[in-house]
């Protein structure tokens, strides 16, 4: 098992792979010699790479909620109905029930993560430009086309982002990075929510009506261009790192085939089930929460809105922190189960008591953060790197499908049977997530408990694995 190149405790983990190369090292000169630019330096991983990864989908998250931020304005200026307005979101989400699975597959099979990120970033930008043009000429159909194109890019870009994160941070600070990505998605949509209306009002001083709206949306397109630039710069650094660090290239035999999906281990599907069953119990609830907080707890619309957005705000702050802690502690499955159980408790509090909803919603924000930063990185522990894009794509697709369907069902339930039954419905989904979580733990424990290792054990495991690789 052990070999002579086995590193001792003093060898930094991040250099294990690199130091195993017998080939001559590339000389890094000028700026390249300094820490931020040197792919071997761990500083390089944070700046610029992590920053670029985070901003990679900033534009798409910013623009995704452009319609929500300008809802009243849009309905008024474009003279559309509420239903037509909601279609802006349907044209985004429904195609992605299928498309982002192919997006992930294309990243693995055809484009690679670098080209993939650029292509999908391009889709996002073009989609937003079409959307803005549609508004500029008051063409509703064109706007829908824009949202569709935007959607093709947006979700697959998220898959590319996950793949990048795993590529750079696996075995390092992956949980934290996933947490940070989550924060950034929230930051993107929060900035949008606070910026778009004032921006519209500012432009409205000179240009009015749908033209003004179009110009405001072009500013959103500017954000997409910014993210596209991030994708291009990131691809440069990634390519350079591949060269300098002599990262292994995926051979064509190793390349994923579509039927490989069928050979994904059961754990992957359990993680997907947890993912969908958990997310549908949180986000469709938030979508319907406003009236619930107003009517059951007697909050004013303003404070009901504040309570409703607590999950987003808390998770934006907490998820990198929890991610960091989970990196230190490990035991991902355990944290996932904790996240589900605590969320279940929050839903019970909301359903069966009149406790001030600030309390359960803050706790729900925290438990969501724990779950999200522990759940997504687990996939990278099961699935080999060359299939990761596809795996994340599938997970995202299942999640999109779940969210789209359950949001509809939840709307019907609440109209027919009220919020108590709705809460019970969400609790049932959390129970499904819990069953999947417990099964995941048992199956994983049977296979040696790879997913639920403590961080320390995982580090030792990794050392062994690297040692094995290098001895071959």
């Amino acid at each position: 098992m052990a070999s002579k190149s086995e590193p001792d405790e003093k060898t930094p983990l991040s250099q294990v792979v690199e130091s195993n190369n017998d080939d001559s090292e590339e000389e890094l000169q000028g700026c390249s010699g300094t820490a931020p630019c040197n792919p071997k330096s761990c500083l390089h991983r944070y700046f610029p790479v992590l920053v670029l990864i985070c901003f990679l989908s900033f534009g798409s998250y910013f623009c995704y909620d452009n319609p929500a931020a300008l809802q009243d304005t849009m309905i008024r200026e474009l003279d559309i109905s509420e239903g037509q307005f909601m279609a802006f979101y349907s044209f985004y989400s429904w195609p992605n029930v299928v498309l982002c699975m192919f997006g992930g597959y294309l990243i693995d099979r055809l484009f690679g993560v670098r080209l993939g990120a650029i292509i999908f970033g391009l889709f996002v930008t073009v989609g937003q430009v079409i959307f803005a043009l549609g508004s500029l000429f008051n063409l509703y159909a064109l706007m829908c086309v824009g949202r569709f194109v935007f959607g093709i890019g947006g979700e697959s870009l998220a898959v590319a982002q996950n793949t990048y994160a795993v590529k750079w941070f696996q075995g390092k600070e992956l949980n934290m990075v996933f947490g940070l990505q989550l924060s950034f998605s929230r930051v993107g949509s929060t900035v949008n929510m606070n910026v778009m209306q004032p921006l519209y009002n500012y432009i409205d001083q000179n240009i009015h009506g749908y033209k003004c709206l179009g110009i405001a949306l072009f500013v959103g397109a500017g954000m997409c261009v910014f993210s596209l630039i991030c994708a291009i710069v990131l691809s440069f650094f990634d390519k350079r790192a591949d060269r300098v660090l002599k990262r292994k290239q995926i051979s064509s035999e190793e390349m994923i085939k579509f039927r490989d999906i069928l050979t994904f281990p059961l754990s992957t599907w359990l993680i997907s089930i947890i993912c969908v069953a958990y997310y549908v119990a949180v986000f469709p609830f938030i979508g319907l929460g406003l009236v619930f907080f107003e009517m059951k707890f007697g909050l004013t619309p303003t404070s009901a809105n504040a309570v409703n957005s607590l999950v987003y705000i808390v998770s934006a702050v907490a998820s990198p922190v929890f991610g960091f802690l989970i990196d230190k502690i490990g035991k991902n499955v355990f944290w996932v189960i904790i996240g589900i159980v605590v969320t279940l408790g929050c839903h019970m509090m909301l359903a069966f008591s009149f406790i001030n909803p600030y309390v359960p919603m803050v706790i729900m924000g925290l438990s969501y953060s724990v779950l999200a930063s522990a759940l997504w990185p687990m996939v990278s522990l099961i699935i080999p790197g060359h299939q990761l894009g596809t795996a994340y794509g599938i997970m995202q697709a299942i999640q999109n499908l779940g969210l789209a369907v359950i949001a509809l069902v939840a709307g019907i339930i609440v109209d027919q049977n009220g919020y108590l039954i709705l809460e019970v419905f969400f609790m049932a989904w959390l129970c499904v997530a819990l069953i999947a979580g417990v099964l995941l733990y048992l199956i994983d424990a049977n296979k040696g408990g790879k997913l639920n290792l403590s961080a320390k054990a995982r580090a030792i495991e990794k050392l062994k694995l690297d040692a094995e690789k290098s001895s071959n």
């Binding site: 009220g418 108590l420 819990l434 069953i435 417990v438």
Partner: protein, 445 residues
């Protein structure tokens, strides 16, 4: 687990027996313009033409425990409820007095025919005013607006000014429903051609059940449900909201009754009225239900059809205030059928008179003007008001929903403990593993 449903059945049984004590079924008989035909045609026609509507509904039971409802538009929409117990008597109506013909007074216009029954209890609900106010701060808070808005922001109409249409009455003897509808120009601005209307649609109940329309309130045989609708008016202000001023009057034969109260009951269960977790009971005599009337509603109104969660907005009520004889609201009572039933006792100390405002709307709901529609459902009845209980379906769903995860955790926990124990008891494995570890450390050192 098994004890749970049994307990439920027990509770259900006790609720049922409780309900059985009340009258479960009543026979209803409805008269419109009762006794009017006994007077000369001019009086009867005048009553019909000027919209002086009186509907008399007698809700009788086999035990002669009868409720007599008088619904009238005279002097403003009002509902008077009398409970008699000993003999089966009918009310008689003196139309000369009701119409205040030849300077006659309305006092004593409505009396019982012989044999005189024992009137155990009587109470009345009168809608005295319709308030419209310009809620420029979008507070939807009547108290706040009373303090902060100046007089020009109010448009207060006495209900006595409205003309009620006899043609729209639509009395249906089989469903015991009828409508007080007013399209009078009191509500309409000059140069306005819209056909707005304001209406009270009453439905007298003869048994227990649940309304099929939202807010799907439970009803009993001792009550009348009604819908209040303000439809299609162009409001006086852009930010107009509406409110009703309501007076409730109560008099029992027994000792002076206690003060009225407005009780708000909260529930976690909104299965019948999605998004509404409260029910409000204005009780005329909270301590003694056999000499008490109730005015019940859920704090929800609807701003468009069809009624649904999306079209719901809130209903708020003010604190109860005493109605002083000299107050302007008191003067409005003097022209209603209340005086015809209560006579001079209306203003004596035994009769309890309280008023409150009931206002419609929630901040950011777009004001009345958004859909030019507001509908509100409430019930007026005698005795103990009906109370919702959590349905068995919900209890089963919840106990399954909560029992399952607990079961899973227990089973999962036991399984993993057993697995660990087996591993430990399966012999030398740990020692082996230890030795490998030892080798490993030695080598890497």
């Amino acid at each position: 687990m098994a004890a749970f449903p049994t307990m439920k059945v027990f509770i259900l049984a006790s609720i049922l027996t409780f309900v059985f004590c009340d009258i479960e079924k009543r026979d209803l008989k409805t008269w419109s313009w009762p006794d009017c035909e006994k007077y000369n045609e001019t009086i009867c026609n005048e009553a019909k033409q000027n919209g002086s509507i009186v509907i008399y509904v007698k809700a009788s039971s086999e035990s002669n425990d009868n409720l007599h409802y008088v619904f009238s538009t005279i002097g403003g929409p009002s509902v008077v409820v009398l409970r008699t117990t000993n003999v089966n008597a009918n009310l008689t109506f003196n139309w000369e007095k009701l119409l205040q013909y030849n300077n006659s007074l309305i006092d004593g216009a409505i009396t019982f025919s012989d044999p005189q029954p024992n009137i155990e209890y009587k109470f009345a609900v009168v809608f005295t005013r319709l308030l419209e106010y310009d809620d420029t701060d979008d507070s939807a808070d009547l108290d706040y607006c009373e303090k902060h808005l100046n007089l020009t922001s109010w448009n207060i109409r006495d209900f006595s000014m409205f003309h009620w249409s006899s043609d729209d009455l639509k009395v249906n003897a089989s469903t015991n429903t009828f409508v007080f509808n007013s399209t009078s120009d009191v509500m309409i601005k000059t140069n306005e051609t819209r056909n707005g209307s304001i209406s009270f649609a009453f439905s007298v109940k003869h048994d227990n059940g649940r309304a099929s329309d939202l807010p799907r309130m439970l009803y009993i045989a001792n009550e009348t449900m009604f819908d209040f609708v303000i439809a299609n008016y162009t409001p006086s202000f852009n930010n107009s909201r509406f409110a009703l001023e309501v007076v409730v009057v109560s008099l029992s034969n027994e000792a002076a009754s206690a003060d009225m109260s407005v009780d708000l009951t909260k529930s976690i269960d909104d299965e019948y009225t999605p998004g509404v977790f409260e029910i409000i009971d204005w009780l005329t005599n909270p301590k003694q239900s056999h000499i008490s009337g109730f005015f019940q509603w859920k704090p929800v109104s609807y701003i468009s059809l069809p009624r649904g969660r999306n079209t719901a907005t809130k209903v708020e009520h003010s604190d109860l205030k005493n109605v002083d004889k000299s107050s302007s609201s008191a003067k409005l009572l003097n022209n209603t059928v209340l005086l015809a039933v209560f006579n001079e006792s209306l203003w004596n100390g035994k009769t309890v008179k309280r008023m409150a405002n009931i206002s419609f709307g929630l901040p950011k709901d777009g004001f009345y003007i958004k859909n030019n529609y507001t509908a509100w459902t409430a019930a007026i009845g005698y005795g103990t008001p009906p109370a919702d209980s959590i349905s068995i379906t919900v209890i089963i769903t919840i106990s399954a929903g909560l029992g399952l995860p607990v079961l899973i955790i227990i089973v999962g926990g036991i399984y993993s403990i057993i697995r660990k124990m087996r591993k430990r008891s399966s012999g030398y494995e740990p020692i082996n593993a230890g030795s490998i570890n030892r080798n490993y450390t030695q080598q890497s050192d």
